[in-house]
Amino acid sequence: MALLEVDDLSVTFARRGQRTVRAVDGVSFSVDAGEVVGLVGESGCGKSVTSLAIMGLLPKQPGLRVGGKAVFDGTDLLQLDDRSRRDIRGRDIAMIFQDPLSSLNPVVPIGVQVTEVLTRHRGMKGEAATKEAAQLLDRVGIPDPRRRLKEYPHQLSGGMRQRALIAMAVACQPRLLIADEPTTALDVTIQAQILELLKELVRDSGTALMMITHDLGVVAGLCDTVNVLYAGRVVETARRRPLFREPRHPYTVGLLGSVPRLDSGRGERLNPIPGSVRDVLPWPEGCAFAPRCTRRVDECVGEPPQLVLAHDGRSYRCVNPAPVPGATQAEAEDLYRATPTGDDAVAAVPTAAEPGSVPAQAVPTDPPAPPGLGSREEESS
């Protein structure tokens, strides 16, 4: 049984006189103990709302409706009353936010903010709490912790602030850590350090980590399992390597293809996904990605695409998925069935450009070239 089982989670914001917004529209995924799960997607796809809904942190307002289930260790988080929810927050599930500066109280020293958690959940006070706080800061790699405890957030560097926030989050050794774009506000070298720290914490303490990000580099470096979100639904779920090697959903293909690469030629242009997130089709009317999809077929519109379960636990929501390199779609499926050990078998398949035998599709003008899958293999392995 998974540690966190999110089942058909939906969040809608209804405002009088305005269109009802379905921010999250039936998201399902699970997080096992000790696992790092990525939630990937571009802005506005419902990543953050999903995490806030799980934590029960969505601002209470009339018109907000949260549906579905989020079962954590046998209890449905969405059904909890405020008190027990507060007890779980920080102790069993903790969260790391995007902007470390604004997530720390500017007028209170770091030490007070760290000990606050210790007092709340572990009943520690006075010198014992201070000592534990110093140890926590040391554990997340803040040098000179005793001194830092007395400092204010504005005296710390961005990386150190994020470390302090991580220290607060892991203070009670939670079983699940939710990181909402923890590296977005940091510069690249610090990003790498913070990711390394998160990796270390997960490895040492067996904490499960739910990583919300739009950065595929973060995913490649950290996640075991990846859920790709689009317009409030999971469109593809896969282990990290298969996802990077042979993405099936055209959206995933587009995401991977639009990452700028150091090894691409100088004059080469980026391959963005055409259109923007606003060009969505409501899910009940078909595939939300269809208006921007290069592999669109007639079946995409009309009814929502069903989740297709592939052999090794990966799944995608597409009627015309990207073919596995070097084989037609049907052949690829056969290949899967023949060699259920996925990874190695597929890695042996020679990579090639898009095969000729692609089913008829309504290709818009100037479709982006398929991503260079061959070179990506080295990156992900």
Binding site: I88, M95, L104, N105, V107, E116, R146, R147, K150, M168
Partner: protein
């Protein structure tokens, strides 16, 4: 990344503790603001006026050359109808209409003026912050009761705010009967809505901030968040407003005294009363009105300069 274990770590810990003690231990937002305040010339001018005023108010009455109630001019026959002697060597600002030393009265009057300003501001600050704090907390906690408490308190504040402040003050003074305490209460009540709205608005905007969300995500109780996170962050504009209110309180108190609603005991001089008393003699000795007026203006200017400088120093947007 975690470097050390055992003995070495203990040693490092002790060293860092030592360093922390010798070092400046964390510069808070307030200390930082004070630093910036010191670099602002307007703040220096304001602070000097403020300090001077306070010193004069505190020790002035012990140093004045003449008693403020001694009618020297009448005793010596200097005051006749239509004649009020002006400045001479012994009486730096001349005599008032009852032959009392004007300079002494002005100095002694500073104490009354400061008392009225401070007490009135404190009344306004206390009541206003209480109402605003309760409303802000209630709004932050949400729920039906929270919203109800918040909007009830705020409608009451709106009612106070809808009345012209001087009219409100005059009505209160009329109800309570003219006295110095009346002036304090009236001026204080007039400034209540400003403080209440300011603190409530500030608290609501702070409770939407990320660190409140982060604290909530760590399971901290809402009431504790309100007290330890929201209130300290919301106080800066209120403190600035208190300094500015001190200036307006002095002016308003003078206005009420001028209207005859203030101190009735002319033995204790007060700038507003002095201004009112000088009115019939404007043609004879305009100085009698000018001196207290200038004193009021300089004091109010000092407070305003200081308040504005504090606002700038505490504004996070202007922080480098």
């Amino acid at each position: 990344m975690t470097i050390t274990t055992g003995k070495k770590r203990e040693k490092l810990d002790r060293l860092s503790e030592l360093a922390a003690r010798q070092d400046e231990q964390g510069v808070s937002v307030w200390q930082e603001a004070f630093r910036r305040l010191r670099r602002n010339p307007a703040a220096i001018v304001g602070a000097v006026i403020f300090a001077l005023f306070v010193v004069v108010a505190l020790v002035g009455p012990f140093l004045v050359p003449y008693s403020p109630t001694d009618t020297i001019g009448i005793r010596e026959g200097l005051i006749r109808p239509g004649v009020i002697p002006g400045i001479d060597g012994d009486h730096w600002l001349g005599y008032d209409h009852q032959g009392r030393d004007e300079f002494s009265r002005l100095i002694v009057g500073a104490r009354q003026t400061l008392l009225v300003g401070v007490v009135a501001t404190l009344i306004g600050l206390a009541i206003g912050a209480l109402i605003g704090g309760v409303a802000g907390t209630a709004a932050g906690l949400g729920g039906r009761w929270g919203r109800w408490i918040d909007s009830t308190l705020m409608r009451f504040i709106d009612m106070l705010l809808a009345m012209p402040s001087l009219l409100l003050a005059v009505s209160i003074a009329a109800l309570l009967g003219p006295s110095l305490i009346t002036v304090m209460i009236a001026v204080g009540v007039v400034s209540v809505p400003v403080f209440a709205r300011l603190l409530r608005g500030s608290m609501i905007s702070q409770s939407n901030s990320d660190y409140v969300l982060a604290a909530t995500a760590l399971g901290v109780k809402k009431s504790k968040i309100a007290l330890t996170h929201v209130v300290p962050n919301s106080l800066a504009p209120v403190i600035v407003q208190a300094t500015l209110t001190l200036a307006t309180a002095i002016i308003e108190a003078a206005a009420l005294s001028f209207l005859g609603l203030g101190n009735q005991n002319s033995a204790i001089p007060e700038w507003g009363v002095m201004l009112a008393e000088a009115q019939p003699y404007l043609g004879v000795r305009p100085g009698l009105a000018i001196y207290p007026a200038v004193a009021i203006i300089i004091t109010a200017l000092g407070f305003t300069l200081l308040g504005e400088a504090m606002r700038e120093a505490l504004d996070p947007k202007l922080r480098k």
